[in-house]
């Protein structure tokens, strides 16, 4: 084939450029020439004359046309090959007449071969033969090579390329074919043109770089060149390409493939570029990534580590936060088993592995456990996860989160510790400590209650503390407890509680409501305190007090009896003592009357002195009696007009007043609650006193004044500074007294004067003081010798 082609070419060249040199005469010997022709691999036939008689046909030619030498040689060519006459006769005639060689290329002719017409293609030369006459063509030598095979292949190739091009054009993916090392755009389909933002006619037949100058500086030209020369496919995903076009430079993410297009001989003739514009996809994914970043930011914010475990392979993907939780840098690379090794040995089997195997069953993963960091510090983590199962409930993946809960756990532990402390404390207390819910049901109680009652915890939980309460105290205990629960008021009650040995002891039970922020009751906190001994003590104390009170009562009765005896004595004194005295007086007067004439003057004087003495004794007895009666606490208080009392006294003293020419001036006195006969006595004594201690050669003047005065203004220690007092004062112009005796004058039998100067028993003012004190009042005396004396009675106002 190659040889024939070369020869063909050789002939073709020679035929065109140097036709004179192809001259049979130039061959050295005819026979040698024939031999050569006969054996030539190309078909050769020599035609003579205008009839184109076949002078010679070699074997190759005969083979090509499927004829025998006998059928052709010696006859016109068209006799032997009638089927080709229409195609070749005109050409042969022209060559014959013009003497110009004719080159047929892939000349189509139908030849009957092997019994049937067959379309054949030939490359051939019709070379004119010149003999004696160089101007006259004597014959034609035909050199032909059958290229039917090649042409058919070529046609087939053509067809397949068309198909290919159709394929390219119709592909939904962007495709373009670049021809030759210059990368001339041969075809580009619709999708590609979309990316390019060009019409086909704008690009077809143009160099890629000319259409897209912006590709200079991007990697694609170099890649194409590489593919073209290395004949290796190149692929890349999500390559960034900038393509200019109407609307400006545009960024694309492209998945692309450059595939070399081979020729039949294996050489590269072009490149098919396949492009998938994934810009949208990438943008979308980037948006996803941003969202994911934000999510991760959010999970970081909540300090949540996330992880994704392939249960089959134990491969684990996790967020940076997770590594941080485990005590590593954010970008640390850890395997699942490394993570497992960080679990606290005490928690690994009992908590984590147990939780894991549970999760494989239930699909839910949850645990709280300790992990130990590289620095040996212990941290609490909480893991939550979800298992994804495959066919037949085979666990495939587990997704989850991990969180550091050390702080919460520590405060929880602290709480537990403090609760533990509280319980220990409560249990170690001798008092009962208990809590109840808002409905009043016992929710907690300490050990003391168990120890005391001998009940089991279950019994108390079930029945509360009521079974302990003494039957006599039960109803009131319940009533008050219900009242407290209903009203939210503090419970306080003393009742007897039964001890395990059956003895009842007194307890003070107190419960205080604990309220929530909104004021509703969350729980009751109660305590019960053993007050048995103190209560017994109080009972004993009460008994003692009662005994004492009884004793006091007895003593009081004794006193009352004594007082009565005293009153009896007073009666006896007034009666029995006065009786003999009265008789002495009476008989003395009788003697003086009947025996006057028989008595000497001395005898008469003695009788007079005896009478004076007995009179004085009578006065003493009367005054003593009055004093003792003032002592008796009689409460015959009645509303009394003191003006009338004063009037009564003045009438009784009318003789004395007239005898001494005395003047008594008085204010209007108050009306108040007093013991009337005592006040009469009081006024009597004070006025008598004033009339008695009259200075020599003077007329007695008594002024009685009344008014109100605040307690603070009274110069007596006993005065109540916060009270108002009524005062009644008796002022005289008598002999007065030395202030140093002020206290003395109110004492019994105290006298300031000789009896011969002023008579009196020394009891009068003592009685006055007693009477005033009986009325819760005060008495004061102010005196100045030679000027006078004032006695002031202060009586409290109100009550």
């Amino acid at each position: 084939m190659d040889k024939s082609k070369q020869l063909n070419q050789h002939i073709s060249e020679n035929g065109e450029d140097h036709p004179e040199q192809v001259n049979l005469a130039s061959f050295t010997g005819e026979s040698k020439f024939w031999n050569t022709v006969k054996q030539a691999p190309v078909g050769m036939i020599i035609l003579r004359g205008e009839d184109f008689v076949v002078e010679m046909a070699n074997d190759t030619y005969l083979n090509i046309v499927d004829r025998t030498e006998g059928e052709l040689v010696g006859n016109s060519l068209f006799t032997g090959l009638p089927e080709v006459r229409d195609y070749v006769e005109p050409i042969l005639l022209r060559v014959l007449r013009t003497g110009i060689a004719y080159h047929g290329n892939e000349f189509e002719v139908t030849i009957r071969r092997f019994g049937q017409p067959e379309l054949c293609y030939f490359n051939f030369v019709y070379q004119p033969l010149f003999e004696e006459d160089p101007e006259k063509v004597s014959g034609i030598i035909v050199v032909a090579t059958e290229v039917t095979q090649q042409v058919l292949s070529k046609h087939a190739l053509q067809r397949s390329e068309n198909q290919f091009r159709n394929l390219v054009t119709q592909s939904q993916f962007a495709k373009a074919i670049l021809k030759g090392p210059e990368l001339v755009i041969s075809i580009a389909n619709e999708s590609m043109l979309n990316i390019w933002r060009r019409r086909l006619d704008e690009v077809e037949g143009k160099r890629l770089v000319d259409v897209f100058p912006e590709l200079k500086g991007q990697k694609f030209l170099a890649l194409l060149d590489e593919v073209y020369h290395s004949a290796q496919i190149y692929r890349e995903n999500e390559a960034i390409a900038y393509v200019d076009g109407p609307g400006g430079l545009k960024k694309h993410y492209l998945d692309f493939q450059y595939a070399p297009i081979f020729e039949i001989d294996g050489s590269v003739s072009g490149i098919m570029a396949s492009v998938n514009d994934v810009t949208d996809k990438v943008t979308l994914r980037q948006q996803f990534a941003e969202t994911a970043d934000r999510l991760s930011l959010a999970t970081d914010g909540t300090r949540l580590g996330t992880w994704d475990l392939n249960i089959q392979t134990k491969e684990i993907i996790y967020s940076g936060r997770m590594a941080v939780i485990l005590g590593y840098d954010e970008d640390a690379v850890l395997t699942h088993s490394e993570m497992r090794d960080m679990i606290h040995p005490e928690d690994r089997h009992t908590i984590v592995e147990k939780a894991f195997s549970t999760a494989l069953e239930t699909g839910v993963y949850y645990y709280e456990a300790r992990v130990i960091h590289r620095d040996q510090s212990v941290h609490w983590v909480r893991t939550q996860g979800k298992v994804f199962f495959g066919e037949g409930h085979v666990p495939l993946r587990m997704l989850g989160t991990m969180m550091d809960i050390t702080d919460r756990k520590e405060s929880e532990l602290a709480l537990k510790t403090s609760e533990g402390k509280f319980r220990t404390l409560a249990d170690s207390m001798p008092q009962f400590v208990w809590t109840a819910d808002s409905q009043g049901y016992i929710t907690y109680f300490n050990r003391s209650l168990l120890d005391y009652s001998g009940f089991s915890a279950e019994e108390i939980e079930r029945e509360g503390w009521l079974p302990l309460v003494h039957p006599d105290d039960l109803a009131e205990s319940i009533r008050l407890w219900i009242e407290s629960i209903t009203e939210g008021s503090e419970y306080l009650f003393e009742h007897r509680l039964k001890r395990a040995d059956g003895e009842y002891r007194w307890y003070q039970c107190r419960a205080i409501p604990q309220r929530r922020a909104d004021g509703t009751i969350e729980m009751w906190v109660g305590t019960s305190l053993d007050i048995h001994d103190s209560r017994l003590f109080i009972d004993q104390l009460e008994t003692k007090v009662q005994e004492r009170t009884q004793q006091l009562l007895v003593a009081n009765n004794e006193l009352v009896r004594t007082n009565m005896e005293l009153a009896q004595f007073a009666y006896v004194a007034s009666h029995d003592l006065q009786e003999p005295l009265r008789k002495i007086q009476t008989f003395a007067t009788r003697i003086l009357e009947t025996e006057r004439d028989n008595l000497s003057e001395r005898g008469k004087d003695y009788f007079n002195r005896m009478q004076a003495s007995s009179t004085r004794m009578q006065q003493l007895i009367v005054d003593l009696l009055a004093f003792s009666r003032a002592n008796v606490a009689e409460k015959d208080l009645e509303n009394t007009d003191l003006n009338l009392v004063l009037q009564n006294v003045k009438e009784q003293l009318v003789d004395v007043i007239q005898a001494g020419n005395a003047v008594i001036k008085s204010d209007v006195l108050p009306v108040r609650e007093v013991i009337a006969y005592q006040f009469e006595q009081l006024f009597m004594n004070l006025i008598t006193n004033a009339l008695k201690f009259v200075g020599p050669d003077s007329t007695p003047v008594i002024e009685i004044r009344s008014g109100e005065v605040p307690g603070a203004a009274i110069p007596l220690a006993e005065a109540d500074a916060n009270r108002l007092y009524q005062y009644i004062s008796f002022t005289d112009n008598g002999i007065g007294f030395d202030p140093q005796y002020k206290d003395r004058i109110f004492q019994v039998f105290q006298r300031l004067h000789n009896r011969s100067a002023y008579e009196g028993t020394g009891i009068g003012l003592a009685i006055c003081k007693k009477i005033v004190e009986n009325h819760k009042g005060l008495i004061d005396a102010v005196g100045k010798p030679g000027v006078g004396a004032t006695f002031i009675i202060y009586l409290p106002v109100g009550s």
Partner: protein, 149 residues
């Protein structure tokens, strides 16, 4: 002086001295007046049961007596139909107001504290004898009840 002859007076007093002095004083005031004395309440009641009627013009009654005291006698006299109108004058050593009040409530007609001199005694007896009991109010006011000499 007596406005009416044959006046009759009962005196109950356990004190012989007082009885003697009373009689001496009475004789000096009135010679015609009959005096019957009893040394205690029991004797007085016996005397009254024997001699009344006719009733005495007035009974002088001591309070402090053995066997039956003046209060008991007063009660009995005022509770006995035949005696309830007989004037009773309490004649006592004491002047205690409780006693005075008490006998006033019980229906005595006067209260005389025994005077410390013979002339006063005579004056007291005369005053009582001069009373016309038919005109006298049965229940004198407390302030007119007590005669002190």
């Amino acid at each position: 002086m007596s406005t009416k002859p044959n006046k009759s007076i009962f005196l109950a007093d356990d004190d012989e001295d007082d009885c003697l002095l009373f009689e001496d004083a009475l004789r000096e005031v009135s010679t015609s007046t009959e005096l019957l004395t009893a040394s205690d309440g029991v004797e007085l009641i016996d005397l009254m049961e024997k001699t009344v009627p006719p009733p005495p013009d007035v009974i002088f009654l001591d309070l402090n007596m053995p066997r039956k005291n003046g209060f008991e006698c007063l009660d009995l006299i005022r509770q006995t139909k035949a005696w309830e109108h007989i004037p009773v004058v309490i004649f006592s050593t004491t002047g205690q107001e409780e006693m005075v009040r008490k006998v006033h409530e019980k229906g005595a007609n006067f209260f005389i504290r025994k005077p410390g001199s013979f002339p006063k005694l005579k004056q007291a007896i005369k005053q009582i004898l001069d009373i016309d009991w038919t005109k006298h109010s049965w229940t004198p006011a407390p302030e007119n009840f007590y005669y002190q000499y």
